[in-house]
């Protein structure tokens, strides 16, 4: 009986836990409850991925109202895959959260912190699971509002302005999305994505449809921090509490990429999206600009969190680049990098949480000699960095490999060069870290002072996942390829 | 017979109310200084609101609608004098005097 309700439980379980957090007075219970909710969500996501893999699309009608009248949850391999990414990152991050929160956030705020965290998770899961266009907007706002609150909790006062800036840009993005959805509704009279997909070809010539597409694209790009709309991201990631940085870096932009994929491929259909606008060229241009500009910016940062935030913008460039190829290998690369980048960035930000825990800050001066004083933490940073560069035997290599293959397939040799050059730039900023950590000694002679195990173990879980999934690729590639084929299969029109 | 009388009364009230509200609105626009303008607005708010709402009450007859109308009237009658009182006091405190205001207004327009 339970198994048929999994799609909705996926979202509702963390949602129930959120108000409960507010009622709990014991701080130890808070963490246990949040972790349990997240873990349960992860297990459900895993089960859903299995179900979707074996039986195709799972449809769940909420309230018992059939699809276009009521709201439908529609899970296929793509959703389930993204759900798994979000829940697993969230779970591992929560594992480390307890210690880090104790240090960074005053105790009176813990119930509300965990509550906001779970609400953010709920929002992200809701966006991913739903098959209703307006429902996307509602859950988008849940996740956005809670993430504004989470970011503002950073200790630096700049966290407040970062949060404000994100609030303004995020709301503009959400309003654009709202306009787009409204125009789609105006043309078809429906809000269900599947239903929209079937009704849109009839109005494909409409100028209104083109304008709807433009608004959705720009709105989602704002949420996705696609270059040049990324301005909110570096500040938001830099000044938020470490745990929040790790969580958001691993999940928020990934879900936005998912929404973009969903709208381009499922709702509009690749045929429409890529024929009405020179989408391939636009995506490739923006992606290349993101890779070059953000990687170079990253090199000049003195705050390591900010460095990795810029690197996130660059990595999002790779993810977007894959969409532009409009081929199975390109999309596979996109989806792989979605997972892999989530793993890398979560690992790196968690390692930075360890550094912050001991050093109090994450400037370059703080990592001097860290190879000696915090060897495990620093090793995690180095391995995560190598994965970012795309060194073989790490996950970063796999996704870059697919990307290069996709580029060669279509004869875009310039892009191949740019991808490799981007990796070189990544190597430069990772090398700067390595140099500071291993070849400089800190000014004061610190004794060896490793981060507490409760922080270190989750970090290393992610680092090891980076390596393990870089060697045994069957899990991720299998799901990614299946999802990519499904997306392109839909491009032909009609349902699979 | 009674019905016709009531409907005439209602019409008369509505017409008077709308005429007065127009007149006072012109007053609000044309009067020279803040205090006279406030007089126009304050009287218009209470008097016109009373007339128009009573006109509507006569149209509605006795029902839930009447009750709602009377509550609306109650709120309006509380709001407007409160606001006028507060405004006058604040303006006075801020140094606006009836004579002085004229100069300020004319120099501004």
């Amino acid at each position: 009986m339970i198994s048929s309700h999994l799609p909705v439980l996926q979202v509702v379980l963390p949602l129930i836990a959120a108000p409960l957090c507010l009622l709990l007075r014991r701080s130890s219970l808070l963490w246990i409850l949040s972790f349990a909710a997240s873990l349960a969500a992860m297990i459900i996501a895993w089960l859903l991925l299995q179900q979707a893999g074996s039986s195709g699309v799972i449809s769940y009608t909420i309230g018992g109202w059939a699809a276009p009248w009521g709201i439908e949850y529609r899970i296929d391999t793509l959703n389930a895959y993204v759900l798994l990414i979000v829940t697993s990152i969230s779970t591992v991050v929560l594992l480390a959260a307890k210690k880090s929160i104790e240090q960074e956030i005053p105790q009176q705020h813990w119930p509300m912190f965990y509550s906001s965290y779970l609400l953010c998770l709920t929002g992200l899961l809701g966006i991913t699971a739903t098959g209703d266009a307006f429902n996307v907007f509602v859950f988008l706002e849940i996740s956005s509002l809670s993430s504004y609150a989470l970011i503002s909790l950073g200790r630096d006062r700049r966290a407040l302005t970062a949060s404000y800036q994100y609030l303004v840009m995020g709301t503009i993005g959400a309003t654009f999305i709202l306009i787009g959805i409204g125009l789609l509704y105006m043309l078809t009279g429906t809000l269900n994505m599947h239903d929209l997909a079937q009704r849109l070809p009839a109005v494909a010539q409409s100028k209104t449809l083109l304008s709807a597409f433009a608004f959705l694209f720009v709105g989602i790009s704002l949420k996705l921090a696609l270059f040049p709309l990324h301005l909110w991201l570096p500040n938001a990631y830099t000044y938020s509490p470490s745990i929040v940085s790790a969580f958001l870096a691993g999940t928020a932009t990934k879900v936005a990429v998912y929404v973009l994929l969903r709208f381009i491929f499922t709702v509009f259909g690749a045929d429409y999206a890529f024929s009405v606008l020179p989408l391939t060229e636009i995506l490739m241009l923006l992606a290349v600009a993101a890779i070059m500009f953000a990687s170079i910016s990253a090199i000049y940062q003195s705050n390591i969190k900010r460095l990795f935030a810029y690197s996130s913008v660059a990595q999002l460039g790779y993810i977007i680049l894959g969409i532009g190829f409009l081929s199975v290998s390109g999309l596979t690369a996109t989806l792989l990098h979605l997972f892999n980048h989530a793993l890398m960035k979560a690992a790196l930000f968690m390692a930075l949480a360890c550094v912050l825990y001991r050093q109090g800050d994450v400037m370059f001066s703080n990592v001097k000699g860290l190879g000696k004083t915090m060897p495990w933490t620093f090793m995690a940073i180095v391995l995560g960095g190598l994965s970012l560069v795309g060194v073989p035997l790490t996950v970063g290599f796999i996704s870059k490999w697919y990307l290069v293959v996709a580029a060669i397939e279509q004869g875009h040799f310039v892009l191949v060069a740019i991808i490799l050059f981007g990796s070189l730039l990544a190597l430069v900023y990772v090398w700067r870290l390595v140099e500071q950590g291993y070849f400089h000694n800190s000014e004061e002679d610190h004794p060896r002072q490793e981060a507490p195990l409760s922080l270190l173990i989750p970090t290393w879980m992610l680092v090891l996942a980076n390596i393990y999934l870089g060697i045994d690729t069957s899990l991720t590639i299998g799901a990614a390829e299946q999802a990519a084929q499904m997306l392109l299969g839909q491009a032909g029109g009609g349902s699979p | 017979m009674w019905d016709i009388l009531v409907s005439y009364c209602s019409d008369a009230l509505l017409i008077t109310g709308s005429f007065l509200s127009l007149t006072f609105a012109i007053g609000l626009l044309r009067f020279p200084d803040f205090y006279t303008r406030m007089h126009a607005a304050g009287v218009s708010d209470t008097l016109c609101a009373g007339l128009i709402v009573l006109g509507l009450v006569l149209q509605a007859g006795i029902s839930l609608v009447t009750l709602k109308l009377l509550f609306i009237l109650l709120f309006l009658w509380f709001t407007s004098p409160t606001a006028s009182f507060a405004l006058a006091r604040a303006a006075h405190r801020a140094g606006y005097r009836v004579s002085e205001q004229e100069e300020v207004a004319s120099s501004n327009s």
Binding site: - | I52, I72, F75, N108
Partner: protein, 93 residues
């Protein structure tokens, strides 16, 4: 018919009030105009309900009146806190 005339009269009155709100010149004139405008729109909605034969929608006018009252009090409190009293209250226009 009479109702329509009343509605139009109220609309015109609203327009005139709006002009005062925009012209100022002092902040007090604006507040005054805004307040009157609120009253007018409540009356307008009441009349509009009768005009469209659905007087049960008076609920909305009632909410307006209530909200108008409360926000007037909020403004009043703002006054009392001394924030509004500024040396020379003139717009840059």
């Amino acid at each position: 018919m009479i109702l329509a005339v009343t509605a139009i009269a109220l609309l015109v009155a609203m327009a005139l009030t709006l002009v005062r709100a925009l012209l100022g010149p002092s902040i007090f004139d604006r507040i005054l105009a805004v307040n009157t405008f609120g009253t007018k729109i409540v009356l307008f909605l009441g009349v509009y309900g009768f005009l469209t034969n659905r007087p049960d929608f008076l609920d909305i006018a009632l909410v307006y009146a209530l909200i108008n009252f409360i926000s007037t009090l909020a403004v009043l409190r703002f006054f009392e806190s001394g924030q509004l009293v500024m040396p020379k209250d003139k717009e840059s226009r």
